[in-house]
């Protein structure tokens, strides 16, 4: 904010800052898990997949704690205006982050279930590009959050289209090779695609919640209420 606000309410203000920081940190943990998942998928690293699942426990814990903190701040500080938007958005953002973490775990679980995938180079490369793109988007969502960058929503929405395109490509590739890889794997891979797509969606949602925090309204046709096409 523009003018100095002395000591007044700085603790409350600080606790909002801290909440933001912790949320971004939680997001970073999830981001790391997403990246780990990608690596596990591409390199059939079951150990990494197990790491992902393990790491998610910590994420869940931190999530619960943070969610409780946000709730308690709402109960104790009676926020209004920007602060309230921030806190309400934060409960949503936390949810988005936590969900993203779960999606990574889902991928990892699929990999473990099948004890690794054997993929064609084409699919492999598609998967790699898609996963990296999704992780990248997620990372940019977190940046938008950390910077409270109200404009990021639109940029991310655009970037999300790229992920969607890659997912589309992946589906086509899977469909073409469904005979080769067997139905189960095909379904599994299409799920992975879907998970990554949704991680990207969550990232876009996060950015849009940031817009809400800053401006008080969602961007036109917000992604959060867009049909999950």
């Amino acid at each position: 904010m523009q003018h100095p606000h002395d000591e007044t309410r700085h603790r409350y203000s600080e606790s909002l800052d801290a909440t933001l920081r912790s949320t971004v940190e939680l997001g970073a943990l999830v981001l790391e898990n997403v990246r780990r998942t990608t690596e596990a998928l591409l390199e059939n690293r079951l150990d990494l997949a197990h790491q992902v699942i393990e790491a998610d426990d910590e994420i869940d814990e931190k999530y619960a704690a943070l969610e409780h903190r946000v709730f308690e701040v709402m109960a104790r500080q009676q926020p209004v205006a920007g602060d309230l938007r921030f806190l309400v958005a934060m409960t949503r953002i936390l949810y988005e982050i936590e969900r993203s973490g779960d999606l990574a775990v889902n991928c990892a679980k699929g990999l473990i279930r099948r004890e690794g995938y054997s993929l064609s180079a084409n699919v492999q490369s598609l998967l790699a590009r898609m996963s990296r793109k999704a992780a990248d988007l997620f990372s940019r969502g977190l940046d938008a959050l950390a910077d409270l960058d109200a404009e990021a929503g639109a940029r991310l929405d655009e970037a999300d289209d790229a992920v969607d395109d890659l997912v589309g490509e992946l589906y086509s590739a899977i469909a073409q090779r469904s005979g080769d890889m067997g139905f189960d794997l095909a379904v599994e891979l299409s799920r992975v695609g879907r998970y990554m797509e949704r991680i990207a969606d969550h990232a876009v949602n996060i950015a849009e919640h940031v817009t809400f925090i800053v401006t008080g309204s969602f961007p036109e046709e917000p992604a959060a209420t867009k049909d999950e096409g």
């Binding site: 003018h3 007044t8 209004v80 205006a81 920007g82 938007r85 921030f86 409270l148």
Partner: protein
């Protein structure tokens, strides 16, 4: 935490002495205040207030102490006349009539505007006589008993006092006294009720009762309320005017209107940074 201000730099400075008025409505206003300034002796307490009060709405005035909320409110029924040093500039139109016009009788003005004060101030008379006072001095012709009952009923006090109208008003609890004062204020059939921090002397329970009552009354009356309690403004008002006080270099403090808008907007997404700072508790 510092939420960045998304508004272009200029926006924030564009607000001159006349505040940004987001809530101007097109309906025929009850009060139309234009460029109002009030001076106590040499001391300009508020300056350049422009706002309108819409019928059957609750309009809340909030802002830091000394920003002139009370001063502005007391212009509405010319209570400031009682302070010798006070002088008023600008115009206050009430249903189109300039209240400070030459032929206006302040006594008549006050009969049309009920006023409720910070501390409950019933007369040390019976409950009945408290209500009947206004109509009596105004030379009321009709049935006083009915009027008393109606006023008390509207003020949600009839059930509690119907059996003891002859008892002294001072025997009532603080919250009941304040409702009695409201009943007294509406007994003269005003169309406006002005309230200056009506709950600041009450505990939370009585406060909420009065707030309920205000919401009930706004069906029939236009209400203007000054409050220190932002939560109260948020809870009860339809529109909120946020005043602030500018301290000039020489230490002169002058109140001005910063923002006037629907209460929902003020408390979820105010236009002005200083409003947001105030309502979220971040102020110098």
């Amino acid at each position: 935490m510092t939420i960045p201000d998304p508004r272009p730099e200029t926006r924030r400075f564009e607000v001159g002495h006349s505040a940004s008025i987001g809530a101007s409505k097109s309906a025929e206003p009850v009060f139309d205040i234009d460029d109002l300034s009030v001076t106590y002796g040499d001391f300009r307490a508020v300056e350049g207030i422009t706002l309108d009060i819409q019928p059957s709405e609750i309009t809340a005035f909030i802002g830091p102490s000394g920003c002139g909320k009370t001063t502005v409110l007391r212009c509405f029924n010319r209570m400031n006349d009682l302070i010798e040093s006070a002088s008023v500039e600008g115009s206050i139109r009430y249903h189109g009539v300039n209240l400070y016009g030459p032929r206006i009788d302040p006594v008549e003005v006050r009969r049309r505007m009920g006023m409720v004060f910070q501390k409950p101030n019933p007369f040390p008379k019976s409950i009945y006589d408290n209500i009947a006072f206004g109509p009596r001095v105004a030379g009321h012709k009709g049935n006083l008993d009915d009027l008393v009952e109606e006023s008390l009923t509207r003020a949600a006090l009839w059930d509690e006092v119907s059996g003891k109208l002859a008892e002294p008003a001072l025997a009532l609890s603080g919250g009941q006294q304040q409702r009695l004062c409201i009943a007294r204020a509406i007994a003269t059939s005003p169309d406006v009720v002005l309230m200056d921090e009506p709950c600041s002397a009450l505990d939370p329970i009585a406060t909420l009762k009065i707030e309920e009552l205000m919401l009930e009354l706004k069906k029939d009356y236009t209400i203007v309320i000054v409050t220190h309690n932002m939560q109260q403004a948020a809870r009860v008002s339809d529109r909120t005017a946020f005043f602030t006080v500018d301290v000039r270099a020489e230490g002169v403090r002058t109140g001005r209107l910063v923002e006037f808008d629907d209460t929902g907007v003020i408390f979820t997404n105010p236009r002005e940074q200083s409003t947001e700072d105030y309502i979220t508790g971040r102020f110098g």
